[in-house]
Symmetry: C2
Subunit: 240 residues, 2 copies
């Protein structure tokens, strides 16, 4: 079931019919694997299909003249990578695999077909892109206005909830398969400082992390510590 995560996520918004689920599944024919650090799409590309992440983590990133590689978004199973290219001239950033990934390719035409067939699916897919945008706004706030410890705590809260939404969290723990360098590139801080911040959260007994798995001891406390308000994830279903 290649679209299990996607469907699970979309159903946070609105229940889907059996037929609608099947249409999604049928659209994902071609599946490919990517190695860690391999690019899924590059800045400047104009792919004629959309990528659906099935397994693993990927990230949107740009490369700056000084060599920095800021990461602007994390993509986890169930996330569509590039609906935007359907309309934009070319990718303005790259998407790279942060772990070994399994990715389904959906042809542009197939997306168009689905949208034509189901108003509800169309709305659900658009909802997902709006949530991505809301996440981006929250990251902008975080990077610009919160101290390092809250930045990391906030990110952990968000990824725990997002992982939970697609069935990838084990109660209060989830896999965060990233290096501290990648986390630093994401939150706009140096690797060294990310390390010290991580150790501080552990020292405050807010989290445990071992073998790329993070356990949140008390989500309420971490949320409070990080000033995390989950409203921007819009996980409470469709507007009635």
């Amino acid at each position: 079931m290649r679209t299990r995560s996607l469907i699970r996520k979309l159903e946070c918004f609105s229940a889907l019919s059996q037929a609608e689920k099947q249409w999604l599944e049928d659209a994902t024919t071609d599946v490919r694997e990517f190695e860690r650090r391999q690019d899924i799409i590059n800045e400047g590309d104009r792919p004629d299909h959309v990528h659906l992440l099935i397994e693993g983590w990927a990230g949107r990133y740009k490369v700056l003249p000084n060599g920095d590689r800021p990461i602007m978004a994390f993509l986890i199973p169930g996330d569509l990578c590039d609906v935007q290219v359907t309309l934009l001239t070319a990718m303005d950033h790259s998407i790279g695999a942060l772990t070994r990934c399994k990715v389904a390719f959906i042809h542009r035409a197939a997306i168009g077909e689905i949208i034509g067939k189901s108003e509800r699916l169309s709305r659900a897919l658009w909802w997902a892109t709006l949530v991505d945008e809301a996440i981006l706004r929250e990251w902008l706030v975080t990077v610009g206005h919160r101290p390092a410890d809250q930045r990391l705590g906030h990110l952990i809260c968000e990824m725990l909830l997002r992982a939970k939404a697609v069935g990838l969290s084990d109660d209060n723990s989830f896999e965060l398969p990233l290096t501290q360098e990648e986390l630093g590139d994401t939150m706009g801080m140096s690797t060294v400082h990310m390390n010290r911040t991580m150790m501080e959260l552990r020292g405050q007994d807010l989290i445990t992390s071992k073998d790329k798995r993070v356990t949140v001891h008390d989500l309420g406390r971490l949320m409070e510590f990080s000033q995390f308000n989950p409203n921007y994830l819009h996980q409470q279903g469709e507007r009635s």
Copy 2:
């Protein structure tokens, strides 16, 4: 002509027919004024119309527990404020007038009608939201990974191009009707440092600013200085 700016912007993407322009114009019946600092929409609201900015500047913002008011986006004439609420349960942020503003209200149903009538308009409107998202990504990069002087320079480059796209720029100058405090809230820096940074750009002879009007002496040089690459604004028309 209430939709002049919007149409001008959309036509960066794709030419519109006379009928399509008229549909847009007809959809904007109700027009209201907002004072500087007045809120246009608040976090938690569920408006049943979309706001189109006709005159003035507005900003998306959140309020943090410590009183900070990070600004996450600037809205200028031609920008739609909240297409997202069409689908999301409630606003996850507020939109406030940064200057006295003129705002047209478009009922949700009218947007739906237009989208139904014209595939091209529907694509153009979606394109505009994708560009907004691309801007958000670039801001995230800027705030997280560029030093203060480049941050400000980058913002000025962007706003010059955006103003130009809707006919609000006079060659190499445009109106930037914001206080240094607001600019600081936007770029994640203190008012004092924003002031010093502004003076540095002036000292380097990159810009002049007087009476809220910024003049860019040599756009190429400022772009280079700020590592500004305009590709993310996607102003080169539709994918062929």
